[in-house]
């Protein structure tokens, strides 16, 4: 059994954090979340629909039991520190939690973070007693700044949100792992099970994913695959892998090999 995941004052058995978006239907979402083993589920904060209550983006509390899962609100859709900070404050009020997945986006096509605004928002939220889990790019300098200022974790992307491209820069993630002590959660871009295992083998403390599960042909099956992949990757990391070599090193002993009579 591998160790538990501790972030701030909470401990989790699961190292998989799951998003609640882009599922084909609420039933599949519920079953996928259960199959994934996740204990923490991210949600977004959006305006209620005042014109047409039936067409309202539904209140996620109708579908996810807060007794069973810890809900982590995000600030998705925010492009400025001001928007992100207010969104986080509204989330705190609506969900009675001071935990926030902080997203401050700089570009509509890549959804990469706006780093200066992200740092500004993180500072303000930390001063307002939030537990901040910032989504960021795979830049060791940004991660260090976020860690130093007091964020409870850093959450560098594997690849752009929803891209399914996997771990695009394993070397940066390795550097981030070596340089920062706070929990490292690879957040965004994971596409299939081996991506999640890879992230854990690089030393990540957890993986946050949404589309990888919700957009799979069989989300519940993929959720189970991800659960296993993250467990396997974590065990492999804790087991301490063998070193890599450029040349071969025979596995079988050299001594005692038979000889046959030479050809004439």
């Amino acid at each position: 059994m591998s160790s538990k995941l501790t972030i701030a004052d909470r401990t989790f058995n699961s190292r998989l954090i799951i998003g609640s978006a882009r599922f084909p239907n609420p039933d599949t979402m519920g079953r996928a979340i259960e199959a994934s083993g996740a204990e923490m589920v991210t949600v977004a904060i959006r305006r209620v629909n005042l014109k047409n209550k039936e067409q309202d983006q539904e209140n996620i509390l109708n579908y996810i039991n807060r007794e069973e899962y810890f809900l982590l609100p995000n600030t998705a859709g925010c492009f400025t520190a001001k928007d992100a900070v207010l969104t986080a404050q509204l989330a705190r009020e609506a969900l009675e939690t001071n935990w926030v997945k902080l997203e401050v986006i700089g570009d509509d096509d890549t959804l990469f973070p706006d780093v200066p605004e992200l740092l500004k928002a993180a500072e303000q939220l930390l001063a307002d007693d939030f537990i901040v889990l910032p989504y960021c790019n795979d830049d060791p300098v940004t991660c260090r700044k976020l860690s130093d200022m007091g964020c409870a974790a850093v959450m560098p992307l594997g690849a752009p949100i929803g891209s399914g491209m996997g771990i695009r820069n394993p070397y940066n993630l390795q550097i981030i792992r070596e340089q920062i002590a706070v929990p490292l959660i690879v957040d965004a871009g994971v596409g299939t099970a081996s991506d999640a295992a890879r992230a854990m083998e690089l030393g990540a403390d957890g993986v946050l994913m949404n589309s990888a599960i919700s957009q799979a042909k069989h989300p519940v099956k993929m959720a189970r695959a991800m659960k296993l992949a993250i467990e396997a990757g974590r065990l492999a990391w804790e087991a301490g892998r063998m070193p890599r070599r450029l040349y071969a090193k025979a596995s079988s002993p050299i001594e005692g090999v038979i000889e046959t009579s030479p050809d004439d």
């Binding site: 998003g19 609640s20 978006a21 882009r22 599922f23 979402m29 991210t42 949600v43 977004a44 904060i45 959006r46 305006r47 209620v48 005042l50 014109k51 209550k53 983006q57 539904e58 209140n59 996620i60 509390l61 809900l71 609100p73 995000n74 998705a76 001001k82 207010l86 404050q89 509204l90 989330a91 705190r92 009020e93 609506a94 969900l95 949100i161 929803g162 949404n210 589309s211």
Partner: protein, 68 residues
Amino acid sequence: MKITVNGETHTFESGMTVQDLLDVLDYGSQNGGLAVAVNDEVIKQQQWPSYALSGKDRVEIIHATQGG
């Protein structure tokens, strides 16, 4: 008074409280998961019955939905 609620302009009686506004919009009896900001400041649920809105106020009423 004219106020903006979730980006749309509405005309209401002055002195209307946040709770009155939620009632009028049919969100008054929503149990949990709702939050309100007026002019970029969160108004806590305990204050809804007493916080009076003024003309040109910008109100945001939100809840948690699906998200990654």
